[in-house]
Each structure stands twice: as structure tokens, then as C-alpha cells.
Symmetry: C2
Subunit: 220 residues, 2 copies
């Protein structure tokens, strides 16, 4: 028997695997989640799978219809219009809090991530840029040092991942995104909380706008 280093319960592992499949759009929004089939695929019984689905349901990734089964959540344009301003508000607050709470070492760590962002953009490494971008935001959220604020943002971002928007919305406006990041970084370095909050807020809204333009042009 292999030593189980991670003492994590089976239903948690299953939840994580399903999360990844949903984010990878292997399970499409609206699709029915066949309990028997998945349980069979994973070589487990339905009990831990059902418990995993309860977890995903409260994360908003799936919807459980009583006596009807489980379906992957569908996100509407309306939902995006509701969620983006909310994340903008919350991450704006993170930026402001980060200014107050971070020390010199934190700032240098953030600067290093920002440098990676600049490098990836210069070399046109989309995947790298995407990752560094995520880490940049995540780090600022953690510097705000508010467990509940972090949790709320992460939950909302999970829901956003249901849509294919995330990577796409970045690609089209890599240069603009980069400049916005520069401005945020400058505000953080200057210790200007108000400015950092405003810039972060606008940065996220501008992401939503770029996405809307993209969908408009696709519709035409």
C-alpha cells in the first residue's frame, strides 16, 4: 500500500478532479452529470461522488435539481455583468488593504511577479503571461490578509472560470492589460492606497468591457 501522504478524504479528491474537468470545459455548462458513469470512470461508489457534488453545488459550479440530477452551471451575460463589478469592488479593496499591510519584502516579491509579467509580454508568451497575471492578482489578495475577502473573491473567480472568457479576454488586450498592471504596481510602490484601489477596480472592469466587445464582434 502506498503511503497516503495527503490525508485528504476521497470526496475531496473527487471534487477537485471534477472542478478541473469543469474548468477545462470537458464538462460543458448545462451538461448533465451522470453519477453512475462518473463513479464508474473513477472506480468509486456513488456515495463519495454525491458528497463531492454537494461541495461543487455550494461553490456554484453545478446545480442540483431535486430528483432531476446534477447539471453544470450555465453562466449568462447578465451573470458576467453582475460578477465583474463585484470582483472589481473586492479586488480594489484588496489593493488598498495591501498597501497598508505589506512590508518591503512583500513589495519586492510582488515586483518580481510583475517583472515576469513584463518579460512574458515582451516574448509574447501568452500562457506565461496568463499565469503571472493570476499570481499577481492572487498575491495582492493575500497581502490584504483577510481570509473572508480572499474566500469570496476566489469563489467568484471560480464561477467566472465556467465561461471560456478568462484567457480569451486577456489575449486580445495584452498590451493594455500590461500597462494597467504597471500603473497598479506604481501605485503600490508609492503607497497610494486610494489610487491602487481605483486602478485595480478599473483594470477589472476594462477586462469585462474587452470581453463584451469581443462577443459583440463575434455576434456580428
Amino acid at each position: 500500500m502506498t503511503a497516503r501522504i495527503a490525508p485528504t478524504a476521497l470526496y475531496q479528491e473527487v471534487a477537485e478532479r471534477l472542478r478541473q474537468r469543469i474548468f477545462a470545459h470537458e464538462l460543458l455548462p448545462g451538461a448533465w452529470v451522470d453519477e453512475q458513469k462518473i463513479a464508474e470512470q473513477y472506480g468509486i461508489s456513488r456515495t463519495p461522488l454525491r458528497e463531492a457534488l454537494k461541495v461543487l453545488a455550494s461553490e456554484g459550479l453545478v446545480v442540483l435539481k431535486p430528483r432531476r440530477g446534477c447539471y453544470v452551471t450555465e453562466i449568462s451575460p447578465r451573470d458576467l455583468d453582475d460578477i465583474f463589478p463585484l470582483i472589481a469592488l473586492l479586488e480594489g479593496r484588496c489593493a488598498a488593504e495591501a498597501v497598508h499591510k505589506m512590508n518591503k519584502a512583500d513589495l519586492e516579491r510582488l515586483a518580481a511577479i510583475h517583472a515576469r509579467l513584463e518579460r512574458s509580454a515582451r516574448d509574447n508568451q501568452i500562457t506565461d503571461f496568463f499565469e503571472a497575471n493570476q499570481e499577481f492578482h492572487r498575491t495582492i489578495q493575500e497581502l490584504a490578509d483577510n481570509r473572508w475577502l480572499l474566500q469570496v473573491i476566489q469563489d467568484l473567480r471560480k464561477v467566472l472560470k465556467l465561461s471560456r472568457i478568462h484567457s480569451l479576454s486577456l489575449e486580445g488586450r495584452l498590451q493594455q492589460s500590461l500597462e494597467e498592471h504597471r500603473a497598479i504596481m506604481a501605485a503600490l510602490e508609492a503607497g497610494d492606497a486610494r489610487q491602487a484601489e481605483q486602478l485595480m477596480h478599473d483594470h477589472l472592469l476594462s477586462g469585462r468591457e474587452a470581453l463584451a466587445r469581443m462577443q459583440d464582434s463575434k455576434a456580428a
Copy 2:
């Protein structure tokens, strides 16, 4: 056998019953939740109970320790300091959005609730006041018409209910709370979104401060 009017799943009913027991502090923070005992009490098997606990866990009401069982979440003063400003931010936003989205009928409905608040305060009906207060906040949140914003606030408020603070923090400052509500109501009626946001924000923070003072005096 009573006819099951509600076609809701057993685990949902169980989750709701447990929620109420937790909010009523019949299950104290930190207390171990004995699966066998509860299942026996409710006359059900442990399977739906376990599914209910998964739901409560993602709401943050209980903590599931792998191989250790389930415990009612304990909220620290630090958590309160993290959560209150967050709710203040979010409900402030609700007030601002409500100004933009509500119509005349909505405003009248809100005014009626506010009138109930005034009446309860005058007659010193604490329970009534408490209920009207909740409805006032809830209504403004719904007027903001943002499903995700509402969800986040409700989740955070659920966690706050773990602490006994809510009713207590009101009793001590009924008059002040009433005056703050009056100001918020006036801003809403004037259609001043900025002002409504600010007042709602400060109203919630002032609730936290009153609580802190109360705990200080209790400690002394």
C-alpha cells in the same frame, strides 16, 4: 404519514434544521457534531446527514476535519474585524445600486418597513425591531438586483450568526441604530446613491464598534 408537500430532498431539510440549531446556539461553536447521535435523533440514516454537513461546511458553519469528524465553526474577534468591513463595503454597494434600480413602489415598500422599525423602537419591541431591521437590510440587498452580490452577503451574514453578537449589538444602541436607518432612508428617498452608500457602510461599521465596546466592558 404526513404528506410531503415540499419535494425538497431530505439532506436539504436536515441542513436547514441543523442551521437553525447552530444559529440558536443549541450547537455551540467548537462543539463536536456527533453523526450517529444526530442521525438517531432525526430518525434518519447517516448518509443524508453527511451530505447535509458538506453543505454546511461550504457555508462555513461547520468545519470538517478529515478522519476527525465535524465541528461547529468558531469565530474569532479577528474574523469579526475581517467580516464587518467586508459586509459594510458590500451592503454599501447594495444601497447605491438600489437607488439606481428601484422604482416608486419599491421605495414605498421600503418606507413601510422603515415605519415598522420606528414603531417597534417607540414601543420598545426588541424582537420586532430586530426582525424589521433584518427585513430592511434584506430588501435593500434585493433591490440592488444582483444575485451574486446578494449571495455573498447572505453567506457572510450566516457566519456572523455563529456569534451571539447580532441581537446583542442592536439592543445596546437601538436609538442610534434607528437614527442611522432614518438617514439611510432619507438618502434613498432623495435618490442620493453616494450618500446612501456611505451611510449604509458607516451604519454597519458602527455596529461592529458597539460590539467591540460591549466586549471590552464585559472583559473588565
